[in-house]
Symmetry: C3
Subunit: 371 residues, 3 copies
């Protein structure tokens, strides 16, 4: 019995490109973790919820048994070649639309390329900090930086579907809520540019706030990383409740604020989506990394999050496998939760079907004004 099928094609509201090159076990494994370092001696990143989820869902798409050993899987993957493996994996996700954050470094597929392989559509999400860093690389003075940055954000808004901020990684989310004054921005830019080597990251809280407010001014949805991620981040400084005052300050801006991931503060993110009409949430990264527990994590998010406020995403990066796990874990969790709630009488079946369609398609379609 399925309460949630047939689902419409999924809209992945936050993801990244995949690598184009052949991967061996040593180059594949690091994509299974948020850690930056090799696994501890005697351990492997295949022995994680992500590793087990990949081994559950992906081998059958390449003609192997679920849970086959990693070495068998990677041998088959090499046999097919990266393009064909990617094609088969993406075809098995059910995703029709990809909103792609292009701000990560590395030789990754561009949005159109990814969509082309998958037979779907793609739109670009522009990462604010990357824009600032590119502009800084080309700016001779702080004054030029400030005006070029405004222009670059404005230009990006012409084609982007949304903006994204990784202020959580660069400073933490405890930022002053108001837009900084122009004079203050200029001073912060002077300091940054004076100290900066080419390619240097923007970490100054004044500049990070300035970027957020530049994005808000465009009226496009603004995605913010919250909750866990790689070890650049200090987890407690990525608690989305730290954004409360910023959320209040942007209530009448017309821009939607989209809180990504949130875990283990996903209930806090859901609370903000509950009390502020312009706040939305996803649990992107969290499902792939919690694997057999994905339904539990999604259920916690569906406690306070209004059903018109939560969206699907994979946060997949590098491996096409992570689109598979993100999508399957989400739809499998939906089906298990909603079937249970319908069976016990808590929800009606038509409501469950309707909410499932909102979560995988309708909400994102509305927030991002997709056709």
């Amino acid at each position: 019995m399925s309460v949630t099928s047939p689902l419409p094609p999924l809209i992945d509201q936050h993801c990244h490109g995949v690598v184009r090159t052949q991967l061996g076990i040593g180059s594949f494994e690091p994509y299974l973790t948020e850690a930056h370092a090799p696994a501890a001696p005697g351990t492997t990143y295949f022995d994680t919820q992500t590793g087990f989820a990949v081994r559950r869902w992906c081998p059958p798409l390449l003609g192997l048994e679920p849970h086959c050993p990693p070495a068998h899987y990677l041998a088959r993957r090499r046999e097919l070649g990266p393009y064909e493996a990617t094609r088969r994996l993406l075809a098995g996700t059910g995703i029709g639309t990809f909103l792609v954050d292009t701000g990560l470094p590395g030789d990754l597929t561009a949005p159109d390329e990814l969509a082309g392989i998958a037979g779907g559509a793609a739109h670009e999400i522009v990462r604010l900090e990357s824009v600032a860093e590119q502009v800084a690389d080309a700016s001779a003075t702080a004054a030029a930086f400030v005006s070029d940055l405004a222009e670059a954000v404005h230009a990006a808004a012409e084609t982007a579907i949304a903006f994204k901020s990784v202020a959580a990684y660069r400073h933490g989310l405890a930022l002053a809520p108001q837009p900084p004054s122009p004079a203050y921005v200029r001073l912060a830019a002077e300091d940054w540019l004076a100290a900066r080597a080419p390619g240097g990251r923007v970490t100054d809280p004044v500049l990070l706030r300035h970027l957020l407010w530049n994005a808000v001014a465009t009226g496009l949805p603004l995605q913010l990383h919250t909750g866990f991620g790689d070890p650049d981040l200090r987890l407690d400084r990525a608690d989305p409740t730290l954004l409360t005052d910023f959320v209040r300050a942007t209530a009448d801006s017309g821009a939607a604020i989209v809180l990504l991931h949130g875990y283990p503060y996903h209930r806090q993110a859901a609370y903000l989506a509950h009390v502020f009409p312009h706040v939305y949430a996803d649990v992107g990264l969290a499902l792939t990394h919690t694997g057999s527990r994905a339904a539990a994590v999604l259920a916690e998010t569906l406690e306070l999050a209004p059903f018109g406020k939560l969206m699907f995403s994979t946060d997949a990066y590098g491996l096409p496998e992570l689109f598979v796990t993100g999508a399957r874990l989400f739809t499998d969790a939906l089906e298990r939760l909603f079937t249970a709630w319908v069976d016990e009488g808590a929800w009606s079946r038509p409501d469950a079907d309707r909410v499932a369609a909102l979560l995988v398609d309708g909400n994102a379609r509305r927030v991002y004004r997709l056709p």
Copy 2:
């Protein structure tokens, strides 16, 4: 099979009055959320766990099918009229005693009126901040305010069953733990009264602490809002662990400290109830707002909370429907959890029945010295 029936009539240890007027869909919907603003475009507050819980439990009490459309339900409700609808709904809750916080504004039923409609008993919980604001409205000087306030709290203690504080909304719970000195209270009162328009809220942390200690001095139980609520509150400042030093300072006062709601910090509230004998907890607001997840939230609270320390409440406000959902979600969750624990051998059936009676009746009877 039921391990928890027959339950005694429930004691709702924290609730509010209901509105007396006829409600349409537009005036009904806002009571389903903690948000203050209209739902985001394209969404409705009926599409929440609260909305679904109301549609599950309430229509049958008015002669309709569960999960009927909101418009049908409200038409039937109007047909019956607010008094009769309220009577039928309250009769379906199983609540015999209502402890009513009267500090909310609006044309709400008084405690005796509510109890009269329900065929039960009621007792008043006096909200400290409301007392302070009423006294301030009538005080010409800070000195008069301070002495009139002391008298008002003392007088309230003659008839009230407990005090309630919403310091979490007004300042947050990170208050200095000790009673402020009289001189400090006087200065804070002078500042507040000088700046205050009639009806202005008390937000000064010195005055909020003074109120808490005035209440503690009466020996009555002191209820404190903790955890989520409407957007006046900043969630991270309502974490009950912020009260730890205040809890320590009141350990020998003879007054019970009752932590309300707590979510998503309900495990933290349960911890305080675990290690401090005079601390109690409920999950009032949390169950109605988490709906089909109520059993999961209650289970988390029952991890560390000693079984003699947790109490039932609905935190219902405005709608008689919220008494229904609060009561049904609680008793349904109890039955599901306790049946599972008995079935797997973790608990004995007599223990489960005994603990269920403590949670819905015995603990509140002891804490509030009810007959």
Copy 3:
């Protein structure tokens, strides 16, 4: 059906000794709680998850029915005498190796004595703060204290299997991450010794940091209390994310950092074990105190914790019963979770068996270099 049997003998990676004396109901009950005070009037610490877990698992080991009344259980226990009751209880745990923190006061069994009764092996974990306090009792000057402390830690490392810190209780985990300078340590020692009565506790953050870095320098694993515990501790200051900068600073030290307990921040502890190769975790204390919810708590920890990073412990103290509940709750939870995951296809059975063996034996064997 069992996916996790037969398990190897368990390695309890963190526990304490048991009392040698006969216990009555009044002297038994306090060991069931983290509270320091008698239970609130009208309540008992037997009415807790710990109390119910003891009554579930222990009576059958002494020839009684599960869930028999506490008074029957204690009568039988007295009949057998403490030695024989302890022998029967420990024999029922499945634990083969005990890593014993000897830093708690009271007339408790020493590691070898405990292992002798259980028919297993034992190793000592040395508590840093106890070492500092013993050295302080014997030191005439701050200079002597500093050099004697260095020697004492070095000497302890010759025989200890690990060090343990209770900085969470003494100051909280928000400690500056770097080792304090020798001059700073000397000044802090002078202040402490000047103010200290014999037996006085070390609470100075400089000295606590100095202890941590002394331990790290030995290369032995360093266990840190995190999360809930008795009311000496302020819960929010025991959040393991507060250790993030210390964890970063020790990344290349060669010493493993083991985060104990963690609850209700066990997901945060698991995150640190996920992103930092040298970080490990357990949920020792949490399972005994959450009883029928142990599987849920363990499941939350297994979301982000790599399967090579989580270890089993009981944190048992005083009562041999707490070794029984700690062990049975852990293995019962493993079996229930892993059976469910295998049944739904998320994990393979060989993987589940392999991970179960890692959690109860293999990981601790590797981290503590056990034979």
